[in-house]
Symmetry: C2
Amino acid sequence: MQATTPPTAGRPRSDLNATVFAATLRSVRELGYAGATMDRIATAAGVAKTTLYRRWPSKGALIADCLLDAFGPVPLTGADRGEVVASAIRWIAAKISAPGAGAAFAGVFSDAINDPSLREILSKRFQEPYRVAVQDALGEPDDRVLLLIDVVTGTLLHRMGMTGEPMADADVEAMIDMVLRTFG
Amino acid sequence: MQATTPPTAGRPRSDLNATVFAATLRSVRELGYAGATMDRIATAAGVAKTTLYRRWPSKGALIADCLLDAFGPVPLTGADRGEVVASAIRWIAAKISAPGAGAAFAGVFSDAINDPSLREILSKRFQEPYRVAVQDALGEPDDRVLLLIDVVTGTLLHRMGMTGEPMADADVEAMIDMVLRTFG
DNA sequence: ACCATTACGCTACTGCGAGTAGCGCAATTA
DNA sequence: TAATTGCGCTACTCGCAGTAGCGTAATGGT
């Protein structure tokens, strides 16, 4: 999300990302996605709203970056393929179940429906790295990996959207069983 | 969505649902979910905006009702369980792929994230009838059927949200293969 | 020391869409 | 004929995303 040309002269940017990300997640957790307005996030971070817009082009982009920072890389460990897939699914399920994170994810995702530039960010900056990592680990063709990601993430988000709550562990395990019959 | 007490006196409601639903789907198809404002839908239907709000409590509720009308019941036919599941999945995939319908569905779904009353409508009026129908046809326990619905619908919507396009037939078939290993 | 340059905070705005209020009129039933 | 309810219309309120412009702080270059 940083500018293409990092400037050499002038006042350097202060270290605000950590503060802003923390305030963003806290706001979404307490107020929901729609309730976490840019004004509130700015206030919660002790920062001017205009500063947010100097760094991120939109609310969706800010929250996407925030999630990217909060999630980090997928762990792809396990004795065999099945365990690799299962542990990766448990990891993303846990990330989405973290308070605030699920609502934030679903919110960004929904904004992306009406904002192609945000969809670009989401698919290129978010999905793509995970797809490459999984593909390297599993050696599946890319369309299969994309389907795998659609199934896992889509299922978790759909449950979240319908019930307002993250998916229970038992259902996560049922989904893993199902996926493993194909990708295990 | 109609009032709990259909009144006996006074001017009866005119037959506007078909006109409004058609105008709604057309607006979403041409302008996207966010672009299809209540003002535009009203104008396109040749109806006052206040009339829309007399019948539906929110934009999301209107579009949910519109989709309910456009989708109709799931066909649950087929020689064996596998064919029943496969044809049902192809049916919902086709419905979501219809121009406008996918964007409308995804839009309502995203509004529901921040609107519990809309979530209620979506899960009770939309998901529940389909769940019951599938459950009767397959004889699976309800949590399994709910998972099946989450997987199928979630996957289709996730693909739609990430790419802006409905899922290609080949991928739908791949998803069917995968699901049938568990539910076939 | 002194620019030029860039960042930050602040106040004040624009634009737009969801949802509402109240009026006059139309179409029913009792 | 009176009461009641629906419709169209105009005109709002409210809230949020995003923007403009100013004064000031912090840096590098000369």
